[in-house]
Symmetry: C2
Subunit: 132 residues, 2 copies
Amino acid sequence: MPTDIWLSRINWSEDGLIPVIAQEAHSGTILMVAWMNREALKLTVEKGEAVYWSRSRKKLWYKGEESGHTQRVKDIFLDCDEDVLLLIVEQTGGIACHTGRHSCFFRKLEGNHWILTAPVIKDPEKIYNKNE
Amino acid sequence: MPTDIWLSRINWSEDGLIPVIAQEAHSGTILMVAWMNREALKLTVEKGEAVYWSRSRKKLWYKGEESGHTQRVKDIFLDCDEDVLLLIVEQTGGIACHTGRHSCFFRKLEGNHWILTAPVIKDPEKIYNKNE
C-alpha cells in the first residue's frame, strides 16, 4: 500500500500549499502561521521538526536552521475541510517570531489601534548573526 | 482622524481577504480557520461577534446565524507580517464546526492515517434544521 495516501487526503491549494498553524504544546499559545508544500510536510513528519515552505524565498524553510529556534512536533491535526494544518509543537528557545518575540501574534486591537503586547526576548540581529 | 486606519494596516490579500484563526478563550483550543474581508472585520468589531467572509458562498457569513453557534469576540490579534488575524472567542453552544464537533481540527495524524479524535456533539442535521 502506498504510504503517502495521507498526503493526498489534503486539499492542497492551486499552488500546492497548505497554511499551517503552530501552537505551543505546553501553553496553548499560537506561535505563528506558515505554509507547507507536500515535501515540507513529509520532511516534517520524518524529522519530527517543522519544515515549512517559504513563499517569499520559494524554497524549503527548515525552521530554526539559522536561529536555532527549531520546533519539535508532537502532533499534527487536519481540519474538517482538509485545507488547514495544526502543528502542536515545543518551541526551542521560546522564540517563534523573527522579531525575537515568543509569538508572532503580538499586536492587539485596542479601540482603533494595534498595540504591542509582547516584549522582544532577543534582538533579531543577535538571533541571525552566528558570530554574536 | 479617520477611524479605519487600523483596517488599512492589514496586508489584505489580492482578493481583499485575510485568514482568521478562532481560538477559544477559556480552553486555548483552536476552533476553526475562516476568512474576513474589510467589511466582515469591521462588523466583527462593531458587533463583538465573529462575522466572516464565505469564499464558497461569496457573501458575509454571520457565524451562528443559522446554527445559533455565535462566537463572542474577546480580543483580536494581528501577526508580525500583518496578514493573519487571531480572534480570541467564547463559542456559544461549544460547537464551532459544521460537522457538529467542538473544533474543526479533529483529524490527527497517526502513522500514515488521519484518525478522528473528537466526537460529534450534535448531529449537523439537527443544528441546521430549526424545526427539529
